[in-house]
């Protein structure tokens, strides 16, 4: 009896289609991506129903972590460079060019201005425990100094400059109040609080208002 021969099938699969899909997704993520900025501390922001977006450019961002440490950051490398060279001059910090570049490339800083030189020479991991936040005491309110120099570094388009406060859910209120008062003293009235999006509760005045706006 002749044996029944099973036709041998190749186990090689055509990967081309899979490759196509992979690269399609890759292209999408590459185009849609915006890198997470390097954050010195983890901040969990509260949620609100507000839908206005956080601006991309011309922002002074004050980050406050849950222990009440205050950090300052500003966008734009040329502006940061100007900020640090101004600070260097008026506070006689004696920063080298390399240290100034490190500041321009860095992200948020939360330290006394005097200690800035040592912070700039630290590795990112060492910095985490070292930075105690920008002092806010009424005698030595360095946040006001940072804001002032930030405004100078912004230069011509002072009107476009936005002030964002990004604080943690568990940040104690007195710290927030001090920061808000600092802005108030600087005659800066319009602030932005960074929040996550949350739906307006059904049936509330805001939900009804938005529905009406949409149907118009």
């Amino acid at each position: 009896m002749p044996k029944i021969k099973m036709p041998r099938k190749s186990t090689a699969i055509d990967m081309t289609a899979m490759c196509d899909v992979a690269f399609l997704l890759l292209t999408f993520f590459m185009l849609a991506t915006k890198f997470k900025p390097d954050e010195p501390v983890v901040v969990v922001t509260p949620s609100s129903i507000n839908t206005s977006l956080l601006p991309d450019a011309d922002v002074i961002l004050i980050t406050i972590d849950k222990d009440g440490r205050v950090f300052f950051s500003m966008d734009g490398q040329p502006k940061r460079k100007r900020l640090i060279s101004d600070l260097n001059e008026s506070y006689h910090l004696g920063l080298s060019d390399a240290e100034q570049t490190a500041f321009a490339l860095g992200s948020s800083f939360g330290t006394e201005i005097k200690a800035l030189k040592s912070v700039l020479n630290m590795k990112p991991d060492d910095r985490k425990g070292f930075e105690k936040g920008i002092p806010l005491d009424s005698a030595n309110n360095e946040l006001a100094v940072w804001i002032e120099y930030g405004r100078v570094a912004q230069g011509q388009d002072l009107r476009d400059l936005k002030y964002c406060i990004k604080a943690d859910n568990q940040t104690p209120y007195p710290v927030i109040k001090k920061v808000l008062d600092t802005f108030k003293e600087k005659k800066i009235q319009k602030l932005n609080l960074v929040t996550n999006l949350e739906e307006a509760p059904a049936g509330s005045a805001a939900a009804i208002f938005r529905k009406e706006e949409k149907s118009k």
């Binding site: 081309t16 992979a22 609100s48 507000n50 206005s52 956080l54 964002c164 104690p172 932005n192 949350e198």
Partner: protein, 195 residues
């Protein structure tokens, strides 16, 4: 597809000359797929898809001049206090009348809960005040005073500002807490057993 059909192509030379060996044009795509997915994973993990939103906060100017300061009527005001452990306290008016504030029902506690929380209190007061008429015969607006205790956290502050947005309250102000308010909070906390 990337494979090409090579089975029917020539090679049957008439003279039986040198035959070049047929080479498969199939390319093994597996490493390329691996690479593709590796990069996808990288971009997926580093990307931030949802941009954070912001809440506008416009602070009033400090003014010394009496004529620039806004007067708040006792009847249209609602005072909300933020305490520790996400507790909210409230009373109607500004607590300027000692007789009214002596009543045990005057100072009340509530929470941020969606139902029977501070939102219902705000809505009730808003609707009550809307029935009142001012000197020109127009409906009055409720004015909410927000006072945060030192024990309150940022989340409470944003939540209460958010309540203003949710209920479309136009007039509200953050005010410094008074010693009297602190006393009331402390005594309510002990009465409710909040540590």
């Amino acid at each position: 597809m990337a494979e090409m059909d090579t089975s029917s192509s020539g090679g049957k030379g008439k003279h039986g000359g040198t035959k070049s060996k047929k080479q498969s044009t199939r390319v093994d795509m597996t490493p390329m797929v691996d690479l593709g997915f590796l990069l996808i994973t990288f971009f997926m993990l580093t990307t931030t898809m949802a941009k954070p939103k912001t809440m506008d906060l416009i602070m009033p100017k400090d003014t010394e001049k009496v004529e620039e300061q806004n007067k708040v009527k006792e009847s249209t005001a609602l005072t909300i206090l933020l305490g520790k452990k996400n507790q909210v306290y409230y009373y109607e008016g500004l607590a300027q009348d000692p007789n009214a504030s002596a009543s045990p029902d005057f100072f009340k506690a509530t929470t941020f809960a969606n139902k029977d929380g501070i939102r219902d209190v705000i809505i009730k007061k808003r609707d009550e005040v809307a029935r009142l008429r001012n000197a020109k015969g127009q409906p009055e607006d409720v004015v909410i005073m927000i006072k945060a205790d030192d024990q309150a956290v940022y989340q409470n502050f944003v939540d209460i500002l958010d309540e203003m947005a949710i209920n479309r309250i136009q007039k509200y102000a953050t005010v410094d807490i008074t010693d009297q308010d602190k006393q009331w909070i402390a005594s309510t906390e002990t009465a409710n057993g909040i540590k």
